[in-house]
C-alpha cells in the first residue's frame, strides 16, 4: 500500500523512562491528595476550617493537573500569565457572590 511505505520512514524514539516515571509520580500525588481529602471528610466536623482545607487541597490538585499534565508550568511566561491572570476575576466573583449569599441568608 502507498502509505505503508511512509510508515517505514517514521523513526520511533525510545521512551524517556525518567519522564514517564515523573508522570506517574504526579498521578500518585493526585491520588494521595484525594485519599487525604477522604480521610478529612470523615474525621472532621463541618465548618469553615474543613472547607478551607478542602479548597486548599483542591488548588494543590489543580496546580498539578494544569502545571504538569497540561504542561503549563513549562510554557513561556507570557502564556502562563495570560491563562492565570484572568482567573483573578473568578476568585473575585466567588468571594463577592458567596458574601452576597451569606447576606441573603441573614435577611431571611
Amino acid at each position: 500500500m502507498a502509505h505503508g511505505e511512509e510508515h517505514a520512514q517514521v523513526t520511533v524514539i525510545p521512551p524517556n523512562k525518567e519522564k514517564i516515571k515523573k508522570l506517574w509520580t504526579v498521578a500518585g500525588i493526585l491520588g494521595f491528595v484525594t485519599a487525604v481529602e477522604f480521610l478529612i471528610a470523615f474525621t472532621m466536623h463541618h465548618g469553615p476550617l474543613k472547607t478551607s482545607i478542602f479548597i486548599g487541597l483542591t488548588i494543590v490538585k489543580a496546580a498539578y493537573i494544569v502545571g504538569e499534565f497540561m504542561h503549563l508550568r513549562y510554557e513561556v511566561k507570557v502564556l502562563f500569565w495570560s491563562i492565570l491572570i484572568p482567573m483573578i476575576f473568578v476568585v473575585w466573583m466567588l468571594v463577592a457572590f458567596v458574601y452576597e449569599g451569606i447576606a441573603i441568608s441573614d435577611v431571611r
Binding site: 510508515h7 524514539i13 508522570l23 493526585l30 484525594t34 463541618h46 487541597l57 499534565f69 497540561m70
Partner: protein
C-alpha cells in the same frame, strides 16, 4: 527555549515572524477556549456557592441527619450508595471510584501525548484506547449515579427532579443536574474527540503529517475535563 530568537534592535518578538508564546496557533486557541470554558464552569459553580450560602446549613450531628427542605443537605448522606450493594451505606465511595477513574484516564492521556512526541504510533494507540475506556467508564458511573439520585428512596415523593426533591431545597437537585450534567457532556465530547484522535492515529494520519500535535491539543481538553471534576468533587461531594 525555542522562542528566545535574537531580535534586532527596535523590533520586538511581537512584530511578527515568530510565536511570542512559543506554541502553535492551534494549541494557543485551545488554551484560550479552555480559559473561556473555565469561566462558564466558574459561573455555574459560583452561582451554586451563592445559592447554597443563602440557604440554612445543617448544624446538627451527622448521625441524626434527616432530609428536609429547611436546610441544605450534607453530601455524605446524599451520596452513600454504590452499585451491587443495595441498602449498604458507603458514603462517597462511589464518587471516589469515579474520581480515581478520571485521574487514571488523565494519566493515560498524558502518556499518549508522550508517545506522540516520540512518533510511537503503537504506544499512542494503546494509551488512547485506555483513555477512551476510562472516559466511557466514567460516563457509565455517572449514568448510575444519576439514576440513583433520580429514583431515590422510590415512591411518588422519593428521589429528585427539577420540580421536586427529597434530599433538600429544590435548588440542590437543580444544581446537581445542571453542573454534573454540563461536566458529563464535556466528558462525552471528550470521548468523541479522543476516538477521533485514535481513529486518525490508526489510519496513519499523524505519521503522514509528521507530528502528533492533535493528540496534545485534545489532551489539553481532556485534562481540563479532569480539572473541572476536581472542583465539582470538592464543592458537591466534600464541602
Amino acid at each position: 527555549m525555542a522562542h528566545t530568537t535574537a531580535t534586532t534592535p527596535g523590533r520586538s518578538e511581537w512584530d511578527g515572524g515568530v510565536s511570542p508564546m512559543g506554541v502553535s496557533y492551534g494549541k494557543l486557541m485551545m488554551w484560550f477556549f479552555l480559559l473561556s470554558d473555565a469561566f462558564t464552569f466558574s459561573a455555574l459553580l459560583v452561582t451554586y456557592g451563592m445559592v447554597r450560602s443563602s440557604h440554612q446549613a445543617y448544624t446538627g450531628a451527622v448521625d441524626a441527619f434527616t432530609f428536609s427542605q429547611a436546610y441544605w443537605p450534607i453530601p455524605e448522606k446524599v451520596y452513600e450508595a454504590i452499585p451491587f450493594f443495595h441498602g449498604v451505606e458507603m458514603p462517597l465511595v462511589f464518587v471516589g471510584i469515579m474520581t480515581f477513574i478520571l485521574i487514571m484516564s488523565s494519566v493515560t492521556m498524558v502518556l499518549a501525548v508522550e508517545a506522540g512526541h516520540r512518533m510511537d504510533r503503537k504506544a499512542v494507540e494503546k494509551w488512547m484506547l485506555w483513555t477512551i475506556l476510562g472516559g466511557i467508564a466514567f460516563l457509565s458511573c455517572q449514568a448510575w449515579e444519576w439514576t440513583h439520585f433520580i429514583v431515590g428512596s422510590g415512591g411518588p415523593n422519593g428521589g429528585a427532579n427539577l420540580a421536586h426533591n427529597e434530599y433538600g431545597p429544590p435548588d440542590f437537585a437543580a444544581f446537581f443536574f445542571f453542573i454534573t450534567g454540563f461536566h458529563g457532556f464535556h466528558v462525552f465530547s471528550g470521548v468523541c474527540l479522543n476516538f477521533l484522535i485514535y481513529y486518525n492515529t490508526v489510519m496513519g494520519t499523524y505519521d503522514r503529517r509528521g507530528h502528533y500535535e492533535m493528540v496534545e491539543k485534545v489532551g489539553l481538553y481532556w485534562h481540563f475535563v479532569d480539572l473541572v471534576w476536581v472542583f465539582v468533587f470538592t464543592f458537591f461531594y466534600l464541602v
